[in-house]
Every structure is written in C-alpha cells, then in structure tokens.
C-alpha cells in the first residue's frame, strides 16, 4: 500500500464529505427564511442515512462481483473483507476506495433535495433517498465504475458526471414533477433569502471538488494534478461566462450568479477532469453557463415545472454537457484509461458511447425515481406537506426549530 496514495485518498474523502454541508448552505441560502433549517437538514440527514447504508450494503452492491452488468452482490456487506492483506481485491487500497466512494453516495442524493425544497415532507424525503440510493445510485456506480455495462462499452466518467450529476439532476426533475409545485409557484417571487450563504456553500463546494475530481485519480499521481487543474480552470471559466451573461442581459454581476456559474463549471468538468486537456477545460466551463442559463430561464419557464433550486438545470444539464464534452475533448495521451480520442481529434467512437451512457443513465434515473416515489408515497401516505404547513414553513412544521428567532430583538 502506497502511503502517499492513502494519504491523498483519505484527504480527498474528507474534502468530498465537506461538500455536503457546503451544498446545504448553498441550497439553504436560496430558500425562504422559514425553510432554511429543513433545507439544511435535507442534506445533513444523508450524512447519516447514506453513510450507514453504504457501509452495510452500498459498497458491496456497487463494487463486489457482478450481476448481469447491472449491480454487484452482497459478498462485502458490512465491509466484510480484509482491506489490509487481501490481495485479490481490485484496488491496492480497497478500503480507502470504499471510504472515498462513500462520500459520493452521500452527496448524490443530497443534490436532489434542492429540486423539492420548501414543500416535501421530511419523512418522505428520508424514505425516498434511501430507496433511490439502492435502486438508482448503487446500480449506476456499479455500471460505470464497478465493471458493469457502461464500463464494458467503453464510455468514461472520470469523477461522476453520469453517476452523480446526471442521475441526481434527472431524478430531481422527475421527483419535482411527481411531487408537484410549491403553493405560490408562478404567483410570487421565490427569491434567495441569504445570498452570502449561497456563496459560502459554493466556496465549500469548490474546495471539496478538488477531492471529488483530483481524488478520482485514485492515487497521489500526475493524473490527480491534471484533474486538479482542469477542475479549477473550468470553475473559473464558467463563473466568468455566467457573470458575462448577467452583465449583458441584466446589467449587473451578482454573487448568486458567480456562485451558480462556478458550481456548474465544476459539474461540467467532472466527467472529463482526468481525460481532457487543460485548454479544453476553459471551453467546457465557458460553454456550460450559457447552456444552463438557457435551460433555467427559458426551458423551465416554458414547461412550468417547479425545480425549486434548479437541480436539473444545473446538475442534470451541466452533467449532460460534461459527458458530451468528454466525448469531444478526451485525449488518450492524458489518460490511457480512455480507449479512443474525442470527436475533435477525429474519432467518433468515444462520442457515441458517451451519448449512449448518458441516455441509459437518464432512463435508469427516470424509472428508478418513479418507482421510489410511488413506494415512498405509499409508505409515508403522501410526500407533500399540507398547504397550511407550507405557509407556516417547513422549519416549524417538520423540525420545530426556527433559524432566525431574534429577528426583532425578543431574544
């Protein structure tokens, strides 16, 4: 076991864990002040639920064995293997790999919660995310990284464009439609109540994303450095292009815009971070902002779905663009794990496989979310709070807490 690799993987894991509370603040700043605790808790609860599920069955179902190329088996349930001495394991640091992957299993369902913010019953959210982890996340992690069919056809996903972002983004859209709109959607402005929180969350996400992407090199090596640099470059480029759009269309650059831009830049580079050249990261980041901006401002309005915090518009659409961009810009000389060069180097093989992988991911996410939604609805007798509870706010009705009790000096 290489000490440097272990040190980097554990550091990366801790950084990825920090993304989930970061996401909680990122989302929390967007909602109304009466709903911030519920929004924070929607992410926080997964640090509990997804961690325990992962240790009990998740890692095993994702990475142990193979059943029809779709999911693993339960041989490693409860982390039942000797990570120190067993030489038959697929990675020299399999336990470190399990730790690292656990953090992905936490943040992915947490990403979805933004779409259903301000109106979903907390109990339903817990049940839904647990079922979703088992029927959508573990199979996808297995298919892409655990030797399943998407791995076999030769599509690549460096740090989770398909598994994390497309799956959570598309599922978020389906769940938001299944759940229904917020009571006053379209009638009132749901504007952010705390822009500094949004930036605090975005900053933590940017920091943690270095673990997410550079850690996905699975060792302290040159590929990790490369992924680190493409990650920062795409975030920077996307932030600038989002701000440019704002200045051109609305006249002024905003902190919410900067935060949104940098996050979707990170999303877009995730699948290609260890495959595309650094100059391509500038292009991928610069283009993700106009694409997402278009979906959030035009497509969402046209179809009228209430994806409250634009999880689909940012993670779904940004992830799909990232997956396609990987098929365009990937280069064998950077990472021999990819079998073909990208479209821009004159080879269409990888590009087509990327499209196929995206399509399959979308199909699994849609079907899995509908199934998990139906089961949850039956278990918790509906998944939406009553209109009155929505008016009072989810902090008071779901948690019995208030975030800002001191608003007029009474305490």
């Amino acid at each position: 076991m290489d000490h440097g690799d272990v040190a980097w993987m554990l550091t990366s894991s801790a950084m990825v864990l920090l993304m989930t509370p970061g996401l909680a603040f990122f989302y929390g700043g967007f909602v109304k002040r009466k709903n911030i605790i519920n929004t924070l808790m929607s992410s926080v609860i997964l640090m509990g639920v997804a961690s325990v599920l992962w240790v009990l069955i998740g890692f095993s179902l994702s990475f142990s064995g193979d059943v029809a190329g779709i999911i693993g088996n339960l041989k490693w349930a409860g982390m039942n293997f000797d990570g120190m001495t067993d030489t038959t394991l697929p990675y020299p640091n399999t336990l470190a790999f399990a730790v690292f992957q656990m953090m992905f299993a936490i943040i992915t369902p947490a990403l979805m919660t933004g779409a259903v913010a301000e109106r979903m019953k907390f109990s339903s959210l817990v049940v839904f995310t647990a079922i979703w982890s088992i029927i959508v996340y573990y199979p996808l992690a297995h298919m892409v990284w655990g030797g399943g069919i998407l791995f076999d056809i030769g599509s690549v996903d460096f740090a989770g464009g398909n598994v994390v972002h497309i799956s959570s983004g598309v599922s978020a859209l389906v769940l938001a439609i299944f759940l229904g709109k917020r009571k006053n959607y379209g009638r009132t402005a749901y504007r952010p109540h705390n822009a500094p929180f949004i930036f605090l969350g975005a900053a933590l996400l940017w920091f943690g994303w270095f673990g997410f992407n550079a850690g996905s090199a699975l060792g302290a090596n040159e590929l990790a450095i490369h992924a680190f640099l493409t990650t920062n470059t795409a975030a920077a480029s996307a932030m600038l292009s989002w701000l440019l759009i704002e200045v051109l269309t609305e006249g002024k650059p905003t902190i919410v815009g900067a935060s949104t831009g940098l996050v979707i830049g990170l999303v877009s580079i995730t699948p290609g971070a260890g495959f595309v050249p650094v100059w391509a990261a500038v292009v991928i980041g610069a283009l993700v902002s106009p694409i997402c901006y278009f979906f959030i401002t035009v497509v969402k309005k046209k179809f009228g779905y209430d994806d409250a915090l634009d999880v689909f518009g940012c993670h779904g659409v940004g992830g799909i663009w990232g997956g396609i961009a990987t098929g365009i810009f990937a280069q064998k000389s950077i990472n021999p794990a990819v079998a073909w060069n990208g479209l821009i180097f004159g080879d269409i093989n990888l590009f087509l496989r990327q499209i196929a992988a995206i399509a399959l991911t979308i199909a699994i996410a849609v079907a899995g979310t509908l199934i998990a939604g139906k089961i949850t609805s039956a278990v918790t007798q509906g998944i939406k709070v009553s209109p009155k509870e929505e008016d009072i706010g989810l902090d008071a009705t779901q948690h019995g807490e208030s975030a800002y009790p001191a608003f007029n000096g009474m305490d």
Partner: protein
C-alpha cells in the same frame, strides 16, 4: 379618511398583496411584530430541553384609506386572513385628521389617493 391596522398571521401575507391590486389602494406598510393573545405561544426543544416562547411572530399591516373604501378593505382582509383558529388576529379602524403628501404638499383626500 380611516386608518386600518390589521394584525395577521405572517403566512397570510402573500394573499394580502392581492388586496392592493383588486381594491386599487395606493399603498400599505407592513411591520414584523411579536405578539401574544388567545393563541398563546409555542414550544421548541433544544437538545431535549423545552423552551417556551410566549410571543409569536405576527405581521402588522397599516394603511390609510378613504372613508368609502374602508369597509371593502376590512372585508377582504378578514376573508383572506381567516383560518378559523386562534391567532387569526384583529383589525382596528380609526379616524385620521389630515394627511400630507410630502412631494407635492397636497393635503387630505388628495394626499391619500
């Protein structure tokens, strides 16, 4: 001219804004207040310890309207603020002696309109 002061539930505020449009009022002021009445307070638990809050957050709306508008404004506030439970609030109506629009110096009914 009448002054209408309405103490209502914070969650009903969204519906109140429609009153402005439908009754063509020229403006209203809103204050966050804490109050206690028949609704009593509520309890929160912090690390298992019970905490009583005697005062609840409420919204106070204040508007000055012409005499002939007062009844319809009060009626529509009542209809939108009503839930039938303790804590729906109260409305107070009082006479106003005069009014001045600072920008133009207009007085009385012209200043309110």
């Amino acid at each position: 001219m009448k002054k209408i002061e309405a103490f209502i539930r914070p969650e009903q505020l969204e519906d109140m804004k429609e009153i402005l449009d439908t009754l063509q009022l020229s403006g209203l002021s809103i204050m966050q207040v804490m109050g206690c009445g028949n609704q009593k307070g509520w309890k929160e638990f912090v690390r298992g310890a019970e905490i009583d809050y005697q005062f609840l957050p409420k919204i106070k709306m204040e508007m000055i309207v012409l005499d002939e508008q007062a009844d319809s404004v009060v009626d529509s506030i009542v209809s939108k603020a009503y839930t039938g439970e303790f804590g729906d609030g109260k409305i107070f109506i009082s006479d106003i002696g005069d009014a001045v629009r600072i920008r133009t110096g207009e007085r009385g009914r012209k200043a309110v309109r």
